[in-house]
């Protein structure tokens, strides 16, 4: 895929639509790794990755204030400074409530160097603040022009419904991969019912589905994943062994394990939709 920039134009990638009607490339770029959660993080390489993604038709760039206390936001802002119109920028507030959100959005816009973001997520449902109150505050940010659309991350079905009744939820983002298919049970149905875009994070299970992590020694000493049970000891050995059929299928198709794991989503989404409607068109 090197040297194919001319062929891989923006028109090439399929698009999806956020709940507010904003079109985005079907594959987004998550900017958490740029803040060094997994390894050191390299700002220059991060900017190059964002530029490469935009050249290939990715439009949705996803960051959060929590990713390195603004480091990731700063990197995304720097990368899009001369190409803002090609990007749909999403960031996230760490907590809920009107007072927190009023200050958090201004901090995030400062890190990004922007006057508004296209999508503003509540990063985690705040147990201290009723979701209705937080969504009311989000609606105020929309009215103030600082935020175009509102999203939720890692919210449960009841919270999603309560939130949506106050202000439209344009996107729900949760973890979803071959190694975490739980959203198929309760989250994909509610987003479909309410017209909310679904955004999967960690679609490669934080690297497990690349097949390049075979043991704990493959992770740096400071790597956050060492604290995660599925990356530890016997769990990790069990999970690596699960990859065999995926790796075999990837070899047969001549693509990387990661590419196949990501590709499976698009087809999965089709299969799930077909199961619901009985007549969805196959992906093209």
């Amino acid at each position: 895929m090197t040297g194919t920039d001319d062929r891989m134009t923006e028109a090439h990638m399929e698009t999806r639509t956020l709940g507010d009607g904003t079109p985005v490339g079907a594959i987004a770029l998550g900017a958490m790794a740029f803040a060094g959660f997994y390894a050191g993080g390299d700002d220059e390489e991060g900017v190059r990755a964002i530029h490469r993604a935009l050249d290939l038709g990715v439009t949705l760039l996803d960051t959060a204030e929590a990713y390195g206390q603004g480091r990731s936001e700063g990197l995304v802002g720097r990368a899009v400074r001369d190409r803002r119109d090609r990007a749909v920028i999403a960031t996230k507030a760490s907590r809920g409530g009107p007072a927190y959100l009023r200050e958090a959005i201004d901090r995030s816009l400062g890190h990004l160097g922007l006057d508004h973001v296209d999508l503003y997520y509540l990063h985690r449902v705040d147990p201290e603040v009723p979701i209705e109150e937080t969504m009311g505050a989000m609606a105020d940010l929309v009215a103030a022009g600082k935020v175009r659309a509102v999203g939720l991350s890692e919210a449960g079905p009841d919270t999603i419904r309560r939130a949506h009744a106050v202000h439209p939820v344009a996107a729900l983002q949760t973890e979803y991969s071959l190694f975490h298919r739980d959203p198929e049970r309760d989250l994909l149905p509610v987003t479909r019912e309410l017209g909310i875009a679904y955004v999967a994070y960690s679609p490669l299970s934080r690297g497990l589905l690349t097949g390049r992590i075979r043991g704990e020694d493959d992770l740096d000493a400071g790597d956050w994943r060492r604290q995660v049970p599925r990356f530890q000891g016997a769990n990790l050995a069990h999970n690596v062994a699960l990859l065999a059929p995926l790796e075999e299928m990837a070899r047969a198709k001549g693509v990387s394990t990661a590419t196949l794991a990501l590709a499976s989503f698009r087809w999965w989404a089709w299969a799930v939709r077909r199961a619901w409607t009985g007549r969805s068109r196959r992906p093209t």
């Binding site: 790794a33 390489e45 290939l56 985690r124 298919r181 198929e184 499976s264 087809w267």
Partner: protein, 50 residues
């Protein structure tokens, strides 16, 4: 997707074609609950899916 090369591999996924048999094989290989160990440190789990 921290590296430019990772971006290429991810975008390439849009061009991969899977058959119904492929999907069935993946569905069988990765049922819900097949993975060992939580996806976040245990102490953090209550803040998810709330």
């Amino acid at each position: 997707m921290g590296r430019p090369s990772s971006v290429d591999r991810a975008v390439e996924a849009a061009d991969v074609t899977l058959s119904a048999d492929d999907l069935a094989a993946l569905d069988a290989a990765f049922p819900i609950g097949v993975v060992a160990g939580a996806r976040y440190p245990e102490a953090y789990m209550p803040s998810l899916g709330r």
